[in-house]
């Protein structure tokens, strides 16, 4: 495995991960821009509209036919909040030439050209996205926004984040807002699109058995050629400290649910970047694995839940504790969860717990290169946070975490919001 990056133009990078571990080549294009209320909905529509057609493949049907003919190339789009940024993601996965029945397909070159065209050379009529497509995709995004209630556990988490980050960018819903859709039309969306692709941060990733000329293919591509140099505006997610609320917020929503979803949003105050590694271990012991306090005490001993876990959102320095419980057990469960958080502060965990957490974490890091998309996500995370930590260094940092470091994190954890979704 070999990772390289080159700057194609200021603000535009090509990253290559050369590996012979996979049957496929995976290309990703990431468009990163600042998250704000003004543009969040427009970005969502952009990510949808680009799937509808490009210069030489003017319809969705045409794109699909091309992909099917390329031995089922998988084309996919995603939209993510990464720290205070919104990232529009485009993926194309194709079978490597070595596993195709015919020789000489040059699938990597073809797929790179197709994906660049879809993202940077959309189907345009009279300086406008096709109005019919825009209306359909606005409707599509509306469904997505309204669809957030369908997955109750996910909804509870999103609501908790929204309450914690009221009036802050990170509280925004990644698909935007129904009321902001109205003013979007083909013309103003295309104007916005041009501004976006000429000012945003662009990262192109290729993972697979890469021929030497992939740089050449990208550099010489007409769609890359016409992009301007830029000083992209985005937020390097390095937030450490927080303005802590004076008291924890309690929020309860009602919905038709059989099981209550309880979420605790925790703030973590750090004074050094490297403390993030300690926090990863803290989270693992609190609720990150089957050995964790949450799993052992809330699920296995008290039998209050089937799901009892926690997740560390490193870019925002928050931990979310998450539990599905019987609604009548709310008080009991909340008390027990708070007890786990308190016990962490008291250092009530063993050296063995610490070692186990490290082993789990290191095993996960070791597999970064075994999964194509995980590899790309890792190097993109490095790129975005302007760090340059190799997989080996990452493991070393985890290895060095001591018990007192974890207790230090525990002492800096405060409950920001307790969110409960019930009937």
């Amino acid at each position: 495995m070999e990772y390289k990056q080159i700057e194609l133009k200021k603000g535009i990078k090509l990253h290559t991960i050369n590996t012979n571990q996979f049957k496929t080549n995976l290309i990703s294009i990431f468009i990163t821009t600042k998250l704000n209320r003004e543009n969040v909905t427009k970005n969502a529509v952009i990510s949808a509209i680009l799937r509808r057609g490009s210069k030489t493949m003017p319809s969705q049907e045409e794109i699909s036919k091309q992909m099917e003919g390329m031995y089922g190339a998988s084309f996919d789009c995603g939209l993510d909040k990464t720290g205070d940024n919104q990232v529009l993601k485009f993926y194309l996965e194709t079978v490597n030439d070595n596993f195709l029945p015919q020789k000489g397909e040059d699938m990597l070159k073809t797929s790179m050209e197709k994906l660049l065209e879809i993202v940077f050379n959309p189907h345009i009529e009279n300086e406008s996205f096709k109005p019919e497509y825009v209306e359909q995709e606005k409707n599509n995004i509306k469904q997505r926004i309204e669809g957030k209630i369908d997955n109750k556990a996910r909804y509870a988490l999103d609501r908790c984040i929204e309450e914690m980050y009221k009036d802050a960018p990170f509280g925004l819903y990644k698909f935007g807002y129904v009321e902001d859709l109205e003013s979007i039309d083909g013309k103003n969306l295309y104007e916005y699109y041009q501004e976006l692709i000429n000012t945003c941060k662009i990262d192109i990733f290729v993972s697979g058995m890469i021929e030497d000329d992939v740089n050449q293919v990208v550099t010489a591509n007409e769609n890359i050629e016409k992009l301007k140099e830029r000083t992209p505006e985005y937020i390097v997610p390095k937030e450490l400290n927080k303005n802590l609320p004076r008291q924890e917020k309690m929020i309860t929503d009602s919905m038709e649910v059989t099981q209550g979803k309880l979420i605790l949003g925790l703030d973590i105050c750090l004074d050094k970047e490297d403390l993030r590694y300690d926090t990863l271990i803290y989270n693992s012991i609190l609720g990150g694995s089957a050995n964790s306090k949450m799993f052992q005490n809330v699920r296995e001993k008290a039998h209050l839940a089937y799901v009892a876990s926690s997740t560390y959102l490193r870019y925002k320095n928050n931990i979310f504790v998450n539990c599905g419980i019987e609604i009548g057990n709310y008080e009991k469960a909340l008390k027990l969860i708070k007890q786990q958080i308190e016990d962490m502060k008291k250092g009530d965990f063993t050296e063995e717990d610490l070692q186990n957490a490290k082993k789990g974490m290191i095993a996960a890091i070791k597999t970064i290169d075994d999964e194509q998309d995980t590899g790309i996500t890792y190097y993109f995370g490095q790129e975005l946070s302007e760090s340059d930590i190799s997989v080996q260094e990452y493991m070393n940092k985890i290895e060095q975490v001591r018990k007192e470091d974890v207790v230090h994190i525990a002492e800096n954890v405060t409950i920001n919001t307790v969110y409960f979704l019930r009937d």
């Binding site: 099917e68 190339a73 369908d150 649910v257 059989t258 089957a290 089937y306 996960a364 070791k366 999964e371």
Partner: protein, 420 residues
């Protein structure tokens, strides 16, 4: 050891049936850090009535036992829990239950042999007490309630109710609060002793292994067991007809969820599976006219899920997704099936779909976990996973048209909806 190599995807599978009846499959992946081990029994929620080898009487147990066993096997006599021990080794351990099998697995980079010790130990040493069985009912109860809140699961399970009169596929894998309340340690031991005999089990290993060595490591860890005779599954006679064409449930969702089902008869046939995948893509796949029409009219906004589920005792086609007008999707789907039946299949579309399906099968071989799980699930259907790559070539337009006529019958179709 039998070796089968597939030249298309350039992988090999080594298979050996041991003296005690256990089937072991090894798919070496040179250079991979990850190692994956999965051990499954050909026993899932379908089996609630059976004749234990050596007995004459039929045994019938409450629904949800296979899944209950999956939860309970982790518990050890010395008070430890194997999931904790595996997690402490830094490996990702898990287990799952389906309609036709239950599997125990782990994925790791280090400590492979220690994890193998633990996995093989706990699967071979059940320990059930009245107390630990009672305790589990609370946790599984929460799991059942969690599924009650998943509209995707409700719409699927209701589709089964609409298609099947008696077939066990209509039963929820986890059982119900009521059925699990009847489970006790004697039932668990009886089912364990019946279905966890090595001759009813398959183990798959995928990662950077030397097949000859790893098979010896497996043998070393097996306790002495004699293969048992055939376990006779008793399944209720299932009529060919569906139960009801339409079924609906209310749940708070933003937009209705639908599943269109087509009831077929049980059996495991790779070529037929490939044909149905191609047909579904021709009918309502991303490049189809029907998809374009429904999308442009704002009736659907994403590609529906397309699947053919089958075991020896049932088979059905499923098309699922969200729509503001599921009735219309259903109506149009039927019309498109009829159009295809009368007008025939376009040769160019067919060739393109074959390429797509071929690429799809190749992509299954990227990840050790996906590979091992695939070989295990296929093995319980008496299928060698490589067959998918080999059988595509033999699928012709004529064969597709035959399957279209035989399987996509209007009187076998159902529509399940979950909406506000």
């Amino acid at each position: 050891m039998q070796v089968i190599e597939n030249l298309k995807v350039k992988e090999k599978v080594y298979t050996e049936k041991l003296e005690n009846g256990l089937t072991v499959m090894i798919i070496p992946k040179k250079g991979m850090q990850k190692k994956y081990m999965i051990w499954g029994t050909h026993y899932g929620s379908n089996e609630s009535s059976f004749v234990v080898p050596g007995e004459d009487e039929v045994t019938t147990v409450p629904n949800g036992v296979a899944h209950f066993l999956e939860h309970k096997l982790f518990e050890q006599e010395n008070g430890t829990n194997s999931l904790d021990i595996l997690t402490a080794l830094g490996v990702e351990a898990n287990a799952y239950t389906t309609n036709d099998h239950t599997a125990y697995l782990f994925e790791c980079t280090d400590n492979f042999y220690k994890a193998m010790d633990e996995l093989m130990n706990y699967v071979q040493h059940p320990y059930f007490t009245d107390e630990n069985v009672e305790k589990e009912k609370g946790i599984i109860g929460q799991e059942i309630m969690m599924y009650d809140d998943y509209p995707e699961w409700r719409v699927y399970l209701n589709a089964m109710q609409a298609m099947y009169h008696k077939n066990p596929v209509k039963i929820d894998i986890v059982g119900t609060i009521e059925t699990i309340s009847k489970i006790d340690k004697d039932i668990l031991y009886k089912c364990y002793n019946t279905f966890y005999n090595p001759s009813n089990m398959t183990m798959v290993l995928c990662g950077d292994f030397e097949p000859e060595n790893i098979i010896e490591e497996v043998k070393k860890r097996l306790i002495d067991t004699k293969p048992s005779g055939e376990i006779k599954g008793i399944y209720p006679e299932e009529p060919d007809e569906i139960v009801q064409e339409k079924i609906e449930q209310k749940l708070e969702v933003s937009q209705p969820l639908y599943t269109i089902g087509i009831k077929d008869s049980g059996g495991c046939d790779v070529k037929k599976h490939i044909a149905i995948e191609i047909l579904l893509n021709l009918i309502i796949g991303r490049s189809s006219n029907l998809y374009k029409e429904l999308y442009n009219e704002g009736i659907i906004f994403a590609q529906p899920g397309l699947e053919y589920e089958f075991t020896n005792i049932y088979a059905h086609v499923l098309i699922d997704g969200q729509s503001n007008n599921p009735e219309k999707v259903y109506q149009k789907f039927k019309e498109e099936v009829n159009r295809l039946k009368t007008e025939g299949i376009n040769e160019e579309d067919f060739t393109r779909m074959k390429k797509m399906i071929y690429g799809g099968y190749i992509k299954e071989y990227n990840d050790v976990a996906d590979i091992a799980k695939m070989f295990l699930a296929d093995c319980f259907k008496a299928i060698n996973s490589f067959d998918y790559l080999e059988e595509i070539e033999g699928v012709t337009v004529e064969y597709l048209e035959q399957i279209l006529k035989d399987v996509f019958k209007e009187e076998k179709m159902i529509l399940s909806i979950v909406k506000n």
